[in-house]
Amino acid sequence: MTPQHHPEPDELIAYASGSSPEWVSLVVACHLTYRAECREEVALLDALGGALLAEGPGEGNVPLPDLDEAPRAAVATAPAALPEADALGIPRCVHPYLKGGARFRYLAPGLKQIPLALDIGEFPSRIIRFAGGFTVPKHAHEGLEFLVVLDGVLEDSTTGEVFRTGDVSRRESGTAHRQHIPWRAGPCTCLVISEKPVVASTWWGKLLKRVTGV
């Protein structure tokens, strides 16, 4: 059994309590799509919110609204799913961010991407598809980075950790590593969201970064 990589408990708590920023919530929602045990955890954390609400004191009198004026129509809450994104195996929580369409565009040999309409700071979020055998040259992080594997396998060559579909790789600012996609596992699709661009530390990495902006 290889270990699974979940979000930190703090991130699940922030997601349920409503204090996490949108980009971290997107990472959590992606993970929850694949992992029932974390959905159970979030259900428990939602129940905690309910218990706090039910147990706390109320404040003031609230007038009952005119219910005759309020039609009881079921309101659609889920945004429309994109069939072409479903076909690519992109989870539906990501679909609202696919403003430029759900089509992978060539970035460099072995790399394709779909940019997402979710910018935090100076770094655009994106979905990246790595070819089997691709190596991400050694690079350092200057901000927090989340990577969620949507399909395939990604290995961290520095730590030896293996990330599979649904796993979350979380890199803190000030860490450096190299990653690769095992040949036999085929292509790997990931959601990548960072606070800051990475700093490449090899000539090949610097060239790749100049060409791709990744």
Binding site: A14, L67, A74
Partner: protein
């Protein structure tokens, strides 16, 4: 939920939802406005409330929380979609049954009980996160308690809730 039932729910929850928004720092007029929106959502969508998925208090809390993020903070809250082709490992698709509803109600009661027995410092962290919209870092800065200690308290509180729920369901 018929009108009489809703009026009961309204009397119970509207002042509490108002307290929730006031503690998040909304001014009174905005809080009054969003309370009405939340309670009208409860009325309009009460057919969609599924007691097998969670208690009424949990459902009202999630509506209030989502409204806070959406109308007040002007952000989206991405959520997993159970009809997603990527969805896997599937306890959420259980058909609604009296047993599932009873299990959800018992979970809510156990969470409530565990909440009451949390040590005050853990309770304080949980309230700040859920009711004051503070992140753990903000809470640490405001209270002078190191971030690591805040995280530990939050995790211990979570473990207490989980332990209580699991312990109870094994009986």
């Amino acid at each position: 939920m018929d009108r009489a039932a809703f009026e009961g729910v309204f009397a119970d929850y509207a002042p509490r939802v108002r307290a929730y928004f006031l503690r998040h720092g909304l001014n009174r007029s905005l809080a009054d406005e969003v309370v009405q929106e939340v309670m009208l959502t409860v009325w309009r969508e009460s057919e969609r409330f599924d007691p097998a998925k969670g208690s009424l208090s949990t459902w009202v809390f999630t509506i209030a929380r989502n409204r806070l993020i959406d109308s007040v903070r002007r952000q989206k809250r991405p959520e997993p979609d159970p009809t997603d082709p990527c969805w896997s490992g599937d306890p959420d698709a259980r058909p609604p049954s009296p047993e599932a509803a009873a299990a959800a109600a018992s979970r809510a009661r156990n969470v409530q009980r565990a909440l009451l027995s949390l040590p005050p410092e853990q309770r304080r962290v949980v309230e700040a996160l859920y009711f004051e919209g503070q992140t753990m870092s903000e809470l640490s800065a405001a209270s002078g308690v190191p971030l690591g200690t805040i995280k530990t308290r939050a995790r211990l509180a979570l473990r207490a809730l989980r332990g209580n729920v699991e312990g109870e369901t094994e009986e």
